[in-house]
């Protein structure tokens, strides 16, 4: 049953991907302005502009341009950036590792700290501990990223000189950016963990385990946590898009390359092939995450499988 559900969902990816590619293409071409103005320079003549537009096929009707793009992609050619003048695949391949590095580590940080805090707040008997933990959880989500980044730099890099101010050299340069992004993600994970644990705690089988005389700790780690992890994993899988593209502000402040920064720069220059490529990558990652999340949910809840196949 699970296999059939998964198969069905994977099959759904195809029409959805195509629909998304159309949406992305439309969005990109809805943007006012065009890349040619970023190419021409003082000294060139007005005719050069028309020549360039023709060279890049920008005077063709939109659907012709779309099919050119999609057609090339099916042959493995992601196109060449108009302003940045490099194959799109190269540009993405150069920037992706940095985003993955940062994203994966931040994800790990949010998960570990979030699950810990969420578990504490769900299981503690002390009201004060609960309030303190709640305070920690709130901190991350109330301050804008660039603000936190700047404060981190000022304190840890300039004042204490423990870490470099910016750049991507060595593991030291990862610490502050990971903390900045990670702290923001803690709140969500903590809250989901908390409610998942509280829900599970009320189940009948837990009362049975208590009656059997098992110590609370064993119940927690052996039975409650595994059950609680599933909704947590579901939520986390859905945030894959964030891992790849959500670090824009942090990348900007810390001077690190990344998919988000590439997208923003290309967006500013209206470099269509790059923007399309990046958005498509992000969209595919997001759909993958949603797929994983749905499958995980289906694995947990048979009703979901039945309702949707």
């Amino acid at each position: 049953m699970l296999l059939r559900y998964t198969f069905f969902r994977v099959l759904m990816l195809i029409p959805v991907s195509i629909a998304i590619s159309v949406v992305i293409f439309m969005i990109v071409h809805l943007l006012p302005g065009d890349p040619i103005d970023n190419l021409i320079r003082v000294g060139s003549s007005p005719d050069d502009r028309t020549a360039l537009i023709a060279k890049y096929g920008l005077d063709q009707p939109l659907f012709v341009q779309y099919f050119r793009w999609i057609g090339a992609m099916f042959q493995g050619d992601f196109g060449e950036a108009i302003v940045l003048r490099r194959p799109v695949a190269d540009l993405i391949a150069q920037n992706l590792p940095y985003s993955l590095q940062l994203g994966a580590l931040a994800f790990l940080f949010s998960s570990i700290v979030g699950i810990t805090l969420g578990t504490i707040s769900a299981t503690t008997r002390s009201a004060w501990v609960e309030q303190i933990v709640r305070g920690f959880i709130l901190i991350g989500s109330t301050v804008p990223g660039f603000w936190l980044a700047l404060l981190m730099i000022l304190f840890f890099a300039v004042q204490l000189q423990w870490f470099p101010v910016s750049g991507a050299k060595g593991w030291q340069s990862l610490v502050l950016p990971v903390l900045t992004i990670g702290v923001g993600g803690v709140a969500l994970v903590a809250r989901v963990t908390r409610v998942a644990l509280l829900d599970v705690r009320k189940e009948d089988f837990v009362t049975l385990l208590h009656a059997k005389g098992l110590p609370s700790r064993t119940i927690l780690t052996g039975h409650l946590m595994p059950h609680a992890m599933l909704p947590v994993v579901t939520i986390l899988a859905l945030r894959i898009g964030w891992i790849l593209g959500g670090a824009v502000t942090v990348e900007f402040v810390f001077g690190r390359p990344g998919l988000g920064s590439l997208l923003i720069r290309a967006l500013g220059q209206r470099d269509y092939p790059v923007v399309q490529g990046c958005l498509l990558m992000l969209a595919l990652a997001v759909m993958l995450g949603t797929l994983i999340g749905d499958v995980a949910q289906a694995a947990m809840d048979p009703r979901v499988r039945e309702a949707k196949t």
Partner: protein
Amino acid sequence: MGYAIKSKLLSGTALIAAGFISTAAWSQEATIAFASGELGATSYNPVTSSNLNSATSLIYDRLVEQDADQSYHPHLATSWEEAADGMSWTFHLKDGVTFHDGTAFNAQSVADWIPDFAETENAYLVGAVASVEVIDDLTVKFVMSRPEPNFLYNLSSSFMGVPGAAAYDSLGENFGVTDAVGTGPFKLESFAIGLETVLVRNDDYAWASDLSENQGAAHLERVTFREIPDQSTAFLELKTGGLDVLLGVPTDFLQILKAESNINVIQMPGTGINYMPINVTAAPFDDIKVREATALAINQEAIVSSIYNGVGAPAHNFLISSLPEADVSPELNVSFDVEKANALLDEAGWVKSDGPVRMKDGEALSVKLFTQNGTEFTALAQVIQAQLADIGMEAVITVFDSSTIRDEYKANRHQLAVRGYDWNNSDILDWFFSGERLGYPNVSMWKDEEGQRLNDVAMKDSKNSMERVANFKAYHEYVLSQHLFVPIYEPTTNIAYNAERVNVPDPVRGTRFRAQTVLDMTVVK
């Protein structure tokens, strides 16, 4: 052990220790951060690239170099002659120059290089060149299809750094990406887009231009160029020693930098102007009196002392002051004169009302002021808004990003705009005011018969550089008389460096921070 032997051993050990310590502590390396306007370059191929950064000039040499006073200095070309009719140029090349891959630089290298420009976006740089003739190994002749008095200027541009022909052909698309071969004082070691470029010294370098004191190989062994988009972060890196040199420091940081004891700031004459173009097709600006009033309402001096903390100079016309064409008749220069501005508006029929805004025929004097995002321009727009309010004109600001704003210009939705340009040649007048470029870059939307005639004469009919200067000056003066824009500010280029780490020659030679300066840089012992 005998005293003599012991002392010899000790002194020997001391020498070795000293040698070890000094070489370890004194590594000839420097880290330089790019200015925010030159971030994101994706290739070091000068022929095909649409944007290049400062590191390019270290990898490739040019035939000639331009100094800040507009004079041209020999570099790969030792001397040159222009034919009297302007239809050919002959260059004599320096002997003994080699590319990074060992191949020789000679007339054939030039002949191989020029045709590479065909079909590229940079083709206009050699648009007037019909063919290149190799006269002998060290003499090359450019046969022109039309006179190009601006030829030396083009040759001194970063985009005309000379690439090694053999490598250029064999590397193809990867030239400037995975490897780059020029004759410059540094070789490309690694290039991570959006992050950093590492250059290592070319030990064979012996052909610097006379803009450098150092005529041999560079003192620095290794230079790392970093890309840091956020200005505050760049400043903090400089402060904590993560950077040695920061190019293009915004003026609001200058005060804090000067307060740091180990940081020095060099100010180079700038190569651009900040100004406010006026859309002459949009009422009320179709009335020249209103345009002139707007121009006179802007207090350049106050802007310089407040927003720019006294750094840089007020601009009174369209060109940077080092250009001879900027030397126009004094009465055409634009300066603050609020009484005359008010009088002109009265004359034009815009009268003071009970409210803060002037009225005419029931309409309020309210205009749109567009600008690009970026703290400098938004700050400038806000000050201008306040200064215009002083003459009873209400300016409503909208901030756009650079691509969207061009669309707005082309759709003719603007009235006033605050922007800047970075160019040190008078053909910028053609760029911004030619009737054939309406919308963008001709933000003033100006199309005028006399103006176009003067434009064409300056751009196409100038036979030599003296004529060119005279023609462009005439064009410039006409443009000024029509009040198509308001000049605001002539920025300086600010360079900050850590004086405890590196020495940077001051004043900086040339028009921008380029190879000639890096050649003279040393690490502080």
